[in-house]
Symmetry: C2
């Protein structure tokens, strides 16, 4: 792999045109890059801020090839890029993060086996391909436990918690009888994430650990620094580094973890890996020396990583659905840094924007 950095004026191809692609495009432009976006959806938020875009299906191999040949490097904003899509793109131009990261992050079972092989802590789990598996898995892991599809789950979609009153048949229906994983229930006291980057030269830089609160399975706030011992923070960042190193990763990675109280000690369990910029890293736009979006562009362009130094205590709050109707009071709030995604319609559960607030203290 060449470590020759891409010069300003080079073109970065981004697969996926949502808000993450949009914010990647904005920071890429600030560094002097051109951006092309590939997305099947008309009116994608990233289209409006990029030099060119291709609106075509992820299965359209001609369009993929044309897109790839027009850019110097390809990255993506979401982990569900089909493997054949990734293969076609990678046959023309360097693809970062690489195919292995996509493969691991797309399949919950693959991801858990990968983490277990690395010796990293995670909740016990069992593969579930049907009624027999589920019955045996529930026998072993007990209730409550959580049944999740292996693929395409996000924001609480494709999962069901098996409490005492849930029939196995109904649980299988809830995951559409897809290949799934049963996870032991984790009685966590809080959720945290590590957002970090690995460069083409293997350099690694993590941001301060972030504490995350969800509402209706969707991230609501991320606050940094997390309420977590410094030992646990160091451990969390080291786990993210093991993952990134093992994947030969290039770019920003998000690693979600649970914190469990274990006899007065904080124990960490990895929940999942996102091979991309991460919602819990949006605070870095205003609270860190280098935003996660710039950092990702630096990594995929072969530039040195930027400083992940935190500038202030920061809280990021997502604006979900109708939350965005508060824009005029947020615009008037001293110190609130407003980031809106240019989405036309505020559907329930849709991420419309976020606001970063710098908090007093360090």
């Amino acid at each position: 792999m060449s470590h020759q950095p891409l010069p300003p004026g080079a073109t970065i191809g981004i697969v996926g045109g949502g808000q993450l692609g949009r914010m990647l495009a904005l920071d890429a432009a600030r560094l002097g890059f051109r951006v092309h976006v590939y997305c099947p959806d008309g009116g994608s938020p990233a289209f409006a801020v990029s030099a060119a875009h291709v609106q075509a299906a992820y299965e359209d191999e001609d369009a993929l090839a044309r897109f790839a040949r027009d850019v110097d490097v390809v990255t993506y904003e979401f982990e569900n890029v089909p493997s054949r899509t990734a293969e076609v793109l990678a046959s023309h131009r360097p693809l970062f993060p690489g195919a292995r990261a996509l493969q691991v992050a797309q399949d919950r079972l693959e991801e858990k086996n990968f983490l277990r092989q690395l010796g990293l802590p995670l909740a016990d789990f069992a593969a579930v391909d049907g009624r027999g598996d589920l019955s045996a898995a529930v026998q072993r892991l007990g209730r409550p436990s959580v049944l999740k599809t292996r693929r395409f789950g996000y924001d609480g979609k494709g999962q069901i918690t098996l409490r005492d009153d849930v029939l196995l048949e109904n649980a299988l229906d809830a995951v559409n009888r897809q290949p799934s994983v049963l996870e032991a229930f984790v009685p966590f006291v809080r959720e945290i994430s590590v957002v970090a980057a690995r460069g083409q030269d293997g350099a690694f830089a993590a941001y301060d650990v972030t504490e995350n609160r969800h509402a209706n399975h969707i991230l609501n706030t991320s606050t940094v620094p997390a309420n977590l011992s410094s030992e646990a923070c160091v451990e969390a960042q080291a786990m993210a580094r093991s993952i990134a190193d093992a994947l030969g990763y290039v770019g920003v990675i998000g690693v979600e973890m649970f914190v469990v109280e274990d006899g007065g000690r904080e124990r960490l369990l990895i929940n999942e890996i996102a091979p991309r910029v991460h919602n819990s890293g949006h605070w870095t736009q205003d609270g860190a020396e280098t935003s996660q979006f710039e950092q990702h562009i630096r990594a995929v362009a072969g530039w040195p990583l930027g400083s992940t130094q935190r500038l202030a205590r920061t809280q990021m709050t997502n604006l979900i659905g109708d939350d965005v109707s508060a824009w005029s009071s947020l615009a008037a709030e001293p110190g609130a840094r407003l980031h809106l995604y240019g989405k036309a319609e505020a559907r329930p559960g849709r991420k419309m924007g976020h606001v970063n607030r710098l908090l007093p203290g360090n």
Copy 2:
């Protein structure tokens, strides 16, 4: 004039597609606006980061009308928008800053008369329309003095310093025998600027006064805070406010001033007004709560102005021409925030980017 703020999703039209338009577009996008850019030049830096653009002459009234009808408000990135262009645009959509600001800023003589009528301090001057005027003006203002064209001067173009050895005929040639102004020479000890904004509601907010150093008549560095007494800073900001109020100004304005030592006291003389975001305000992108670009968009969109609070001592350095070839070492410099404009060719004197550095201390 309506003070109803433009909602996110509205479209802001920017006339001029250079780096100022580009940085306006990037910050407008962050606030959820769509941006359309109008510029006659193909490959304009702002085109690559906007939802749509019109490449047409400033005299193409059909194109201007179509552009204006597609947007909700029109602003511009440079003061030399022809008055007829401004008139056509303003007949379709609100234009901010308004026609009066353009009129004053486009013509050095008009500008000086405006400032004098406001009772603001500036160097003595005389209108020069030919040999007779120049001879009388030099008689009165002495040598050295500076002959500048009334219109279209920037970065030292269209001006000549009349030292003892300059013949009047050669001076007139140097300004292409255009209508001009002779200015008394100002033995300044430093150059400063006030970058400030006025909202649609008349609110006014100034950034901390910036100290500017030029090289070859082009801005080289801006450092904030300026080396200037707090009394003089307050006076400088008050002068900017008088100007903005008198013009019924909406948007960000830059006011360049000279500092003269006068018996141990700092005296200020206004040099010129820029009715737009200003190169000496680029430090606000990393050193202030609200960047000048966001601030300008807030003003033209009828939003409340953001906080102009400075976050740190900051120095902005322009990357002119070949300076940009240092991009890879700048990318690796801890704490250097790099802003590149996506211009293809690094011609001598061309502004290719800038770098902001936060400095120790307050």
